[in-house]
C-alpha cells in the first residue's frame, strides 16, 4: 500500500516538475520590449503619396542611406526629435542620404497639422501607412531605422527622446566603415 502511494506521489511530482520546467524554459517576453527582428534584413519596399503631392518609393533609393522615421502628432518624443530631423535633413540636402517620415497610429489631418506647425521639407507619408509600420516591426513611436545603400536595415532607434542629428551621422559613419580584416589564425 505504501509502495503504491509512493508511486502515485512520484507521478504527481513528475507532472509538477514538467510544468515547472515548461514555465522556466518558455518565452517570458511579455511586454513592450523592442523588436529587432528587422535588423540585418532587407527593408521591405513601400511606395506611397507624400505630403505636397509627390510620391516616395523606397526601391528608388537603393544606393542612398535612408533614414526611415515613424512618428505621430500625439507623440511627445516625436516633437522632441523633430528639430533634430530638420537639422539632419538640412545637413544632407545635397548628398546620398534620404530622410523619410511615415505616420503611425495617427490621422492624416493631425499629421499634416504636425508638419505645418513644426516644419520639415522631406518626403512624408500619411496615407494608409499602418502596413509599413508593421512591415518594419514598429512597436511604439518614435522609431527610426537606418537603411544602408544596399537596402539592409542596419540600426533602429527607440525611446521617448527620439534621435539626434549627430547620432544619425555617427551611425552612418560607423556602418560605412569597411569590416575589419579577419584575424589570421596562429
Amino acid at each position: 500500500m505504501r509502495h503504491r502511494a509512493a508511486i502515485a506521489a512520484a507521478i504527481v511530482a513528475a507532472i509538477l516538475a514538467l510544468f515547472v520546467l515548461l514555465l522556466a524554459t518558455s518565452d517570458t517576453e511579455q511586454t513592450g520590449s523592442a523588436n529587432f527582428e528587422i535588423i540585418n534584413q532587407i527593408g521591405p519596399d513601400f511606395t506611397g503619396p507624400t505630403i505636397g503631392g509627390g510620391e516616395f518609393s523606397l526601391r528608388e533609393h537603393r544606393g542612398d542611406w535612408v533614414v526611415l522615421n515613424f512618428f505621430a502628432s500625439w507623440c511627445v518624443g516625436c516633437r522632441v526629435e523633430h528639430p533634430e530631423l530638420i537639422e539632419f535633413s538640412e545637413r544632407h540636402a545635397n548628398d546620398n542620404v534620404q530622410l523619410v517620415s511615415v505616420m503611425f497610429g495617427d490621422t492624416e489631418k493631425k499629421a499634416l497639422e504636425f508638419f505645418e506647425e513644426l516644419g520639415g521639407e522631406w518626403p512624408t507619408l500619411v496615407e494608409g501607412t499602418g502596413r509599413i509600420g508593421i512591415d518594419y516591426s514598429v512597436t511604439a513611436v518614435p522609431e527610426t531605422l537606418l537603411i544602408s545603400p544596399s537596402g539592409r536595415v542596419v540600426f533602429k532607434w527607440l525611446g521617448s527622446r527620439g534621435v539626434t542629428a549627430d547620432g544619425l551621422d555617427e551611425a552612418i559613419v560607423a556602418f560605412s566603415a569597411p569590416a575589419p580584416d579577419p584575424v589570421p589564425a596562429n
Binding site: T31, G32, N35, E37, I134, A140
Partner: protein, 159 residues
C-alpha cells in the same frame, strides 16, 4: 437476472462513452458557421499579443500599434488571406512570442499534452480504486452460523 444487470451496466457505460466522445468531436469540429469579417478579425486579434502591452491581446488594447494591427488584419481578411497566413506575417515581423497561444509542436506542445495525460491518469486511477473497492466488497463472505453465534454470545455477555 444478474447477467442482464451486468449487461445493462456495461451498455450504459458504453452509451455514456459514445455520448461523451460525440460531444467532444462535435464541439471541436464545429466552426460556428460562416463568420463575418468582423468576427474573424476579433477572433484572430484575440490570439495576437499587443507588442507594446503587458500580456494583453490586440483585441483588448487601444494603443496605436494594436489599432494598426486590427486594421491590418481586417485588410488582410478582406484580401482573402487565411488566419494561418496572417498569423505567419506577424510571427515573421515580431517573432513567435507575438502569438498568445502556445505552439502545438516541439517541447512547448507538452503544454497541450500534459493536462490530457494527467486527466487520463487521474480517471484511470479512480477507475482502479473503484474496481478494488468493489472486489474487496464482493470478497466479503456472507455471515456464517458461527459468526451469528459469536455475535449472540457477545451480546449476552454484554447484557
Amino acid at each position: 437476472m444478474s447477467g442482464f444487470k451486468a449487461q445493462w451496466r456495461w451498455l450504459s457505460w458504453v452509451l455514456m462513452a459514445i455520448v461523451g466522445v460525440a460531444a467532444l468531436v462535435i464541439g471541436a469540429a464545429a466552426d460556428g458557421g460562416t463568420k463575418s469579417e468582423g468576427e474573424q478579425m476579433s477572433e484572430l486579434a484575440s490570439t495576437i499579443r499587443c507588442p507594446q502591452c503587458r500580456g494583453q491581446a490586440v483585441s483588448e488594447s487601444d494603443v496605436a500599434i494594436a489599432r494598426e494591427i486590427r486594421a491590418d488584419i481586417r485588410t488582410r481578411i478582406s484580401a482573402g488571406e487565411s488566419n494561418d497566413e496572417i498569423l505567419q506575417v506577424y510571427i515573421d515581423r515580431y517573432g513567435r512570442s507575438i502569438v498568445l497561444t502556445p505552439d502545438s509542436g516541439g517541447f512547448t506542445g507538452l503544454v497541450w499534452i500534459v493536462p490530457v495525460v494527467a486527466a487520463g491518469l487521474a480517471i484511470a486511477a479512480i477507475g482502479l480504486a473503484f474496481q478494488r473497492w468493489r472486489a474487496e466488497a464482493e470478497s466479503m463472505q456472507a455471515a456464517t452460523e458461527a459468526d451469528r453465534e459469536l455475535v449472540a454470545s457477545l451480546r449476552r455477555k454484554k447484557l
